[in-house]
Structure formats: C-alpha cells, structure tokens
C-alpha cells in the first residue's frame, strides 16, 4: 500500500480507488436509505398517536427520531468522504458531472441544510412543542417531501450515468455570460429516471420500516413488562405494515425498471440477468442472492400478514393485495425462468416457501408475537439494500474502448459522452480516449526537478517560496519600500530562508517595485508638446 513515494508522484488511495468508492458508496446507501425510511415511519407513528391520543406511538416516534438524528449525521459525514474520494480520484468524471448538473447540485446542497435543520428542530423541540402537536407533526412530515426532492435530484444525475439516451450536452440558459454550466432536460429526465426514483423511494420506506420493526422486535426480547411489550408489539406491527406495503410495490416497479434497462442500458440488463461483469464476484451471482433474499422476505411477510389478518390485528396488511403481489412475483419468476434458467424459479420458490414455514414456526414459538419475524425481516432488508446497491454499480458498463478492448487504467470512456464542455475546462480533466497502450505505461513520469539554489533568481524564489503562505497580489498592492523589514517579518512568521535567498528576494522586490514606480510616473507625466 503506497501512500506517497519520493519517486512516485502519484498518491495511491489505500486499498485501491475502486474499493474505496465502493465501500463509501455502499456505506452511504445503507445509512442514507435508512434516514429516508425513518423520517417516513416517524411521521406515520406520530399521526397514528395523535389520532388515537395514544402515547405509546409518540414515545416510539421520539426514539426513532433520535436514531435518525445520529444516522443522518453519520450519513452526511460519509457523503462528504464519498465526494472527496470521487472528486479526488476521478477528477474528469467529477468535473463533467458537476458542470452538467451544477444548479441541481446547488439545490441538493440547500436541501441537505434544510433537512439537517428540520430534523434537529423536530427532535430537540419535541417537549417544548407539546401544546402545538399538529405543528410539530407537520414539521416532521416536511422531512419526507424534502427527502423525496433530494432523491429526485440525485436520481436525475445517477440515472443519467446509466441511461443517457437522448441527452445532448449543451450550455445552460442559467449559466449567465460565462457559459460555464450545462443543463439538458433530457439528461436529467432520462429514460430510467422515473423508475429509479420510484424504486428507491419505495425501497427506502420498506427498509426504514423493517428496521424500526426489527428494533421493536429486539426490545420485545429484552423487555419483560407486559405493558412495554404491548407497546413494542403495536409499534413494530405498525412499522411492519408500512414497510411491507411499500415492499409490495417493488416488484411492479422493478418490472418496469428492468424493461427500461433492457432498451436503454442493454449491457447493464445483461449483466444483471445473465450474470456478467462484477455482478458475479467470488463465483457467486450476487443479484441472484439478493433475489433469493427478496423471495424469502415475501414468504415471511405473506405468512405474517395472513396470521395478523386472521387474528384481526388492526395493523395487518390487506390480504388481497398481498396475494395479488405474490401472484405477480410468481409470474415474474416464471418469466425469468423462461428467459434465463429454471433454477432461478425453483430457487426463489423454495426460498419463499421455506422462509414462510420458518416464519410460521417462529410465530407459534412466540405465541403470535412478531418479534422474531421483525428481526429477521430487518436483517434481510439490510442485506437486500447492500446487495442491491452493489449489483447496481457492478452491473454498469465497463470502461472500454470502441474496439471493445479493455485496458485497465486507460480508455476511460464512460457510458455517457455528450456532456457540456466549457471552454474554460483545463485539458487535464477532459476525457481522453487512448487507443493503444501508451509508451510511458512502464515508467512513471518523473517529477519536475527544482532548480539548484545557486541558479534560482529572485523572481524564482518569490514565486516558489512566498506563495506557500499567501498570494502574490499583496506584494503588488504593497505601497511601502521597506522590503527588508517585510521579509524579516515573514521569516519571523515562519518562512525559512537562507541569507542568500533573503538578499535575492529583497533585491528583486526593491528593483521590481522601483521599476514599476518609475513606469507609473512616466505614464502620469504629460508628454512634452
């Protein structure tokens, strides 16, 4: 693991750039998705408590919001790390995306601030706003549309990278006279934007709800007081209902998402369906694993819902809806079996059946309490979010040259190429296509050697040493001529200079200032008639 080396001018990111982005990205997915789900579940709990005038839902909502505050802060810090890593390791990519979607990034940033403020106010003003409960609940409810809008924006950019479709990459009407910013509505509202937004929204609500239910399940195990157990059971069931309802929407959305990918991101579709690229890692098709876990969740959820509706539990999900979606799942799996392999169908069916049987056993064992099912569904949900995030990135088209040959480190042609290139963009961050392996691949470019001290002029010294602390503008603005005192002061501030260097700098500054003053006085002097 090379961090930096005197002969190697490049900084190597620990454990490779790909791993670092992958880790930070997956961490972000696991945490940020939870935030969105928590916000929605808290609002549902508060509204339920308000209409029933029941404190147990209010108490649970407050505890969930506390975790949300912690999770949101962790997620924000992680997101900053992700941005640092992306922009530092992939400056070309970052420069393109940031220019193409500049204004949306700015709105995103403001939304981050709004979310953090609203969340903080909502939790820390909880007790001071007892008399204004409706206002308090409304403020918490604002988090959901804020999160949705934040999602809306990031999904526009994220889906563009996968399905750029008809985007042209043109200068923005909003960029003023500088012409520095791009905007293309076809880039933002691209083919997979809607499906990605719907899928992620429903998935996050499901994830948040299942995790809240899981935590209630853990408390049910720990608690021995019957009143508390009732409270946790009711809260868990309500969270489970929210989560499972959102979960049921996912296969329908997923079907249309796959349909869009098939026509606008064929390589991604093939990678997922057939198992190519990094989707298969370590000999395991991780998309399949995710689908098997989803099938297990469906089986468990179906059994639990059936038991809840039979016992006339008020928080049970409507069974016709559950059966309809189960039927849809069956049809999807049949369709995938016909296209791919029947092993997939039988594997999913077995996973669902065994998970359902396991759920029935757990419900009987705990005398109808959903604690074990809640915990398992929370774990499964976490796994599907992580695996789903991984396979989505792993299924992206690889960086390859038009000839199809892949040379690691070169030919960084992204899936999208029509982005706006402002004139001001430096050459170093423009995408370059490298057809053949460059000749310098076996040798690293040498670092520019500094001039020997004896050969450095005063100008060299000023431009290399003075700028370590400040710009040269203040030198030009300085009206005095006591450069020996100025340089002495700089040495006192910490600038290390030899006597020779000091003398050269003072001489240069005095001469250049004198030259500048004489030029100005000649300009001011009226010319002789």
């Amino acid at each position: 693991m090379i961090i930096a080396d005197a002969n190697n001018p490049f900084i190597q990111f620990p454990c490779s750039a790909k791993f670092s982005i992958g880790f930070l990205g997956l961490f972000h997915v696991a945490v940020a998705s939870l935030s969105i789900g928590f916000a929605f579940v808290v609002t549902v709990l508060q509204i339920t408590g308000y209409f029933r005038k029941d404190n147990q839902f209010e108490a649970l909502a407050k505890r969930v919001q506390l975790w949300h505050v912690c999770i949101y802060n962790i997620g924000t810090i992680n997101a900053i790390g992700l941005v640092f890593a992306l922009s530092g390791l992939y400056p070309q990519f970052w420069s393109q995306i940031f220019t193409q979607f500049f204004w949306t990034m700015i709105i995103e940033e403001v939304l981050f601030f709004m979310l953090a403020t609203t969340l903080t106010f909502h939790y820390f003003f909880w007790d001071t706003m007892w008399g204004h409960k409706k206002l308090h609940i409304f403020m918490g409810a604002l988090l959901t549309p804020m999160f949705f809008m934040q999602f809306f924006i990031i999904n526009g950019m994220s889906s563009y990278m996968l399905t750029p479709a008809f985007a042209k990459g043109q200068v923005s009407l909003w960029s003023g006279t500088a012409g520095i910013l791009g905007w293309d509505k076809l880039a933002f509202y691209n083919p997979s934007f809607l499906m990605l937004t719907l899928h992620r929204t429903a998935a996050n609500f499901a994830y948040g709800g299942f995790v809240v239910a899981a935590i209630c399940g853990v408390w049910l195990y720990r608690s021995k007081q019957s009143k508390l157990q009732t409270s946790y059971e009711n809260g868990g069931r309500l969270a489970f209902k929210v989560a499972f309802t959102a979960f049921l929407a996912l296969p329908i959305i997923g079907f249309f998402y796959a349909w869009v990918l098939k026509y606008h991101a064929k390589e991604t579709y093939d990678n997922l369906m057939i198992g190519r690229g990094d989707v298969v890692a370590g000999g395991i098709d991780w998309w399949w694993v995710k689908q098997l876990i989803v099938a297990s969740m469906l089986g468990m959820g179906l059994v639990f819902s059936r038991r809840a509706s039979k016992s006339k539990n008020e928080f049970s999900v409507s069974m016709p809806a559950v059966y309809t979606v189960a039927l849809l799942y069956l049809m999807f799996y049949l369709g995938m079996a016909v296209q791919m392999t029947w092993r997939f169908f039988w594997g999913s069916l077995l996973a669902a059946v065994f998970a359902g049987m396991w759920a029935r056993h757990l419900l009987n064992r705990h005398k109808g309490s959903g604690r074990a099912v809640f915990v398992l569904m929370g774990i499964f949900s976490f796994l599907t979010v992580c695996l789903g995030g991984y396979v989505r990135e792993a299924s992206r088209p690889r960086f390859v040259s038009p000839s199809g040959e892949r040379i690691a480190g070169f030919n960084r042609i992204p899936n999208y190429s029509k982005v706006y290139h402002p004139k001001e963009r430096p050459e170093s961050v423009k995408m370059r296509m490298v057809i053949e392996t460059p000749s310098y691949v076996d040798e690293l470019p040498s670092r520019r050697k500094p001039l020997e001290p004896e050969r450095q002029t005063g100008e060299d010294l000023v431009s290399s040493l003075c700028i370590s602390c400040h710009t040269l503008e203040r030198l030009h603005r300085y009206k005095g001529s006591d450069w020996d005192r100025v340089v002495g002061r700089m040495r006192a501030y910490g600038r290390r200079l030899t006597e020779k260097q000091t003398h050269k700098i003072i001489t240069y500054l005095a001469e250049s200032k004198a030259h500048k003053n004489s030029s100005n006085s000649q300009a001011d002097t009226p010319s002789a008639p």
Binding site: K53, N55, W130, G131, M149, W183, K185, Q225, K227
Partner: protein
C-alpha cells in the same frame, strides 16, 4: 409539573435502563395523550418553529418551480 416530569423522563431514556423508564412513562396514564394547552409552550420556541416551517415550505415550492422551469426551458 406532571408534563415536565414526563418530559424529563422521556429525555432521560437510555438504552440500559430504557425498560424501567419507558414503563414509568406508560404507566402514568397510558391512555392519555400528553397534550397540553398551547399557551404553555414557550413563545420563543413556537416562533422559531413557525419561522423555520415557513422558510422550508417556501424553499420547497421554489425548488419545485425551478425543476418545472427546467423542463420547459431547456
């Protein structure tokens, strides 16, 4: 006073003794939603919340308008 005690109890919930404290809160009057008169809330807090909610709604609507304009004007 009761509301203050209840508030303190809710605030002091920790993971280790959460059971005991949560039980106290629920056992006080589990069927009664702990609402109080709006005039008992500190005015400064209510003002801050109203101000922030207004700002948030305005900004949300503003962003929605921007996104709609972005569809119309390419």
């Amino acid at each position: 006073m009761k509301d203050e005690n209840m508030s303190k109890q809710i605030e002091n919930i920790t993971f280790d003794d959460s059971d005991a404290q949560a039980l106290e809160i629920l056992e006080e009057k589990p069927e009664v939603y702990p609402l109080r008169d709006p005039s008992e809330d500190p005015r400064w807090a209510v003002r801050i919340i109203w101000t922030w909610v207004s700002i948030a709604i305005f900004l949300l609507l503003f962003f929605v308008v921007l996104l709609i304009l972005g569809i119309w004007y390419d």
